[in-house]
C-alpha cells in the first residue's frame, strides 16, 4: 500500500483522472447510442438505466480487472526476480494477492465518490444501499481474478513470453464480465451461457443488481459460480506451479 502512494502523480492519474475521463466517455457514448437509435428504450430499459450501468460498470471494471499485477507476476518468473521471493518464507500467491488487494482498496476509496456524485447529479436509478453487498461479491471475485493471474504467471515456467495470454484474457473478459455492454443484450442462448460463468460477477451481476436490472436471486448465484471457478483455477494453478518449479532454472541468479 505504501508503494502505491509513493508515486504521487501516477496515483492521482490512476485513482482520479483516469476514472473521470472514462466516466465521461462512457456517458457520452451511451447518450450518442440512444440519440442515434431514436428510441427511449433498448432491451426493455430506459436511457437512465444504461447511463447508470455504464457509469458504475466503468468504475467496477477498473476494480475487477487486473493486468498490472499480472504483468508483474509474469515478469517475476520470466526475469527470475522471483528468486528473492522463493528463498523467503513467503507465498508468491499471497504476496501478490496482498499487493493487489491493497492497491484496489486504496484506488477504490479515492475514486468511489465519482460515480456516486455523477449518479446523484444525473438522477440515475441506483440503489446505493446495495453497495456493501455488491462490494462483497466484487471482493470475492477479485480472488478469482488473482487466481487467474497466478495461473497465467505459471505459464512463464514453460514458455518464454506469456504476456499475450493476459491481453487475450482481458479482451475476452471485457465482453464476458459485461463491461462492454450489459449481458442481457446478448442473444438468449449466449446470455444463459455467459451467466453460468463466474466472470459476470466482475461487472454485470454487481452493477445489474445495483442499478435494478437483475434481482437478488440472480445476483447471489455469482458467489456460487465464483466458488466453482476458484476451485478449478486454483487446482490448475497449483499443479502448474509445482511442476513449473521443478523445471525452473533460477533465471538471472
Amino acid at each position: 500500500m505504501i508503494s502505491n502512494l509513493e508515486y504521487r502523480i501516477n496515483f492521482i492519474v490512476d485513482a482520479l483522472i483516469q476514472p473521470c475521463i472514462t466516466t465521461v466517455v462512457e456517458i457520452v457514448l451511451w447518450m450518442a447510442i440512444f440519440r442515434g437509435a431514436g428510441t427511449d428504450m433498448i432491451g426493455g430499459f430506459t436511457r437512465e438505466y444504461y447511463l447508470a450501468y455504464a457509469l458504475w460498470a466503468t468504475f467496477v471494471a477498473r476494480i475487477s480487472t487486473s493486468w498490472l499485477y499480472e504483468f508483474r507476476m509474469i515478469e517475476e518468473v520470466e526475469q527470475g526476480t522471483i528468486n528473492s521471493l522463493l528463498v523467503r518464507p513467503l507465498s508468491f500467491y499471497e504476496y501478490y494477492l496482498s499487493q493487489m488487494l491493497g492497491y484496489k482498496f486504496v484506488t477504490t476509496i479515492f475514486s468511489l465518490w465519482i460515480p456516486i456524485v455523477v449518479g446523484i447529479y444525473l438522477d440515475l436509478p441506483v440503489h446505493l444501499d446495495r453497495l456493501p453487498i455488491i462490494f462483497l461479491l466484487i471482493g470475492y471475485y477479485l480472488f478469482l481474478v488473482h487466481s487467474m493471474s497466478f495461473l497465467i504467471s505459471t505459464f512463464a515456467f514453460y514458455l518464454n513470453k506469456v504476456n499475450y495470454f493476459t491481453s487475450t484474457k482481458n479482451l475476452a473478459l471485457w465482453l464476458l464480465t459485461g463491461e462492454l455492454f450489459p449481458i442481457d443484450l446478448m442473444p438468449e442462448a449466449w446470455r444463459d451461457f455467459v451467466l453460468s460463468l463466474p466472470f459476470v460477477s466482475g461487472v454485470y451481476l454487481p452493477i445489474g443488481y445495483l442499478t435494478g436490472r437483475i434481482g437478488f436471486g440472480v445476483f447471489i448465484q455469482g458467489f456460487q459460480t465464483v466458488t466453482l471457478g476458484l476451485i478449478i483455477v486454483n487446482v490448475m494453478g497449483y499443479l502448474l506451479w509445482a511442476q513449473g518449479l521443478k523445471k525452473y532454472s533460477g533465471t538471472g541468479a
Binding site: 505504501i2 508503494s3 509513493e6 508515486y7 526476480t81 528468486n83 528473492s84 522463493l86 528463498v87 523467503r88 518464507p89 513467503l90 518449479l245 521443478k246 525452473y248 532454472s249 533460477g250 538471472g252 541468479a253
Partner: protein, 331 residues
Amino acid sequence: MMNSLAIEAQGLSRNYQTYKKAEGITSSIQGFWKREYIYKQALKPTDLQVPRGQIVGLVGANGAGKTTLLKLLSGLIAPTGGTAHVLGHAPWKREAIFLKRISLLLGQKNQLWWDISPLDSYALLTRIYDLDVIEARKKVMELATLLRCEHVLDVQLRRLSLGERMKMEIIGSLLHSPDILFLDEPTIGLDIVAQSTIRDFLIRYVKSKGPTVILTSHYMDDIAQLADRLLLMSQGSLMYDGTVEEFAAQADRNLQLLVRFEKDFLTEERIGLDFVLPAGQREFTFSVTPKDLAVLMSRLPQLGEIVDLRTEEMDFEGVIRKFLEKESRVL
C-alpha cells in the same frame, strides 16, 4: 542429537535443456515444428559435506556450475539427480521452517522493495520472518552502525547508490539471523572502499555470530580473507576441495619471473617447450616452478644482456587466475 553438518549432498546434479537457434528467418519459422534440443549438465553428480560454522569459498569460471550449486542448496531450483540436506531439510521443498534459517544474498540484485525505504522493507521482513518488532529494529540499527549507513535507512531504495543498496541488502539478509548464509558475489560492481567495508563487516559478523557461509566471488580477496575452505569448480565438477593456503602452496607454478633485456629480440627464442620469448620485445614475465627457475636462470643470460631480473611469489588471486585460465581453455 544435532547434526554437526550444515550441508550434506550426495550425487547432487542438475541438467538444463535448451534448444539451438540458427540464424535467419527460415530457422525461426522451422522452429514452430522442429527444434533441436541441447542438454547441458550444469552440475555433475557432486558429493559435499559442510560442517556447521564453516565458511566455504566457491570459485570457478563463468559456467563452471558454482551458481547452480548455490541455487540447489538454497532451494531455488530442484535437482535432476542425487540428494541434499541443508540443516536437515531438502532445500527445494522450501519449507517455511527451512527458509527462516537461511539467507541468499545475490550481488547486484535487489531483494528489498525498490519503491520504499529500507526501514519499511525491514518492517515487512520482520512480519515475513515472524520476528520480534523491537528486537528486529534494534538489530537493524546495530547492523547499520557497523556498516556506517544509518543515514540512508529512511531513503527509498531506488535513490541509493549501489554501495548503499548493497549494505541495505546485507542488513535485510541478516535480519533474521540465518544459520546459513549464501552469498553470491556480494561485492560485485562495488568500488574498492565499499568492497573493503563490506568484506570487513562480513568478517566481523561471521566471527561473532558463526553462521555457515557459502560464498561465491570473482574477487579473490573476498575468498582469501573470508573462506576457511576453498571449492574450485570447473565444467560442473568440484576440482579442488581444501584450504586457501593449501591450494596456493600446492599450485604448480606459484612464482613469477620478470626479466628485462637491454635490447629487443630480433627473432623469437624458446627455452624448452613452455617458455617463448617473442621477437620485438625485451621484457618478459613467466609463471614458473622452482625447477623451471633453475633452468631459466642458466639459459636466459645466454640470450642477451639482462638489465633487470626479479622473482615474485604469485598471490592467491594470481594462482586462481592461472587455474581459471587453464580451465577456461578446456571449455
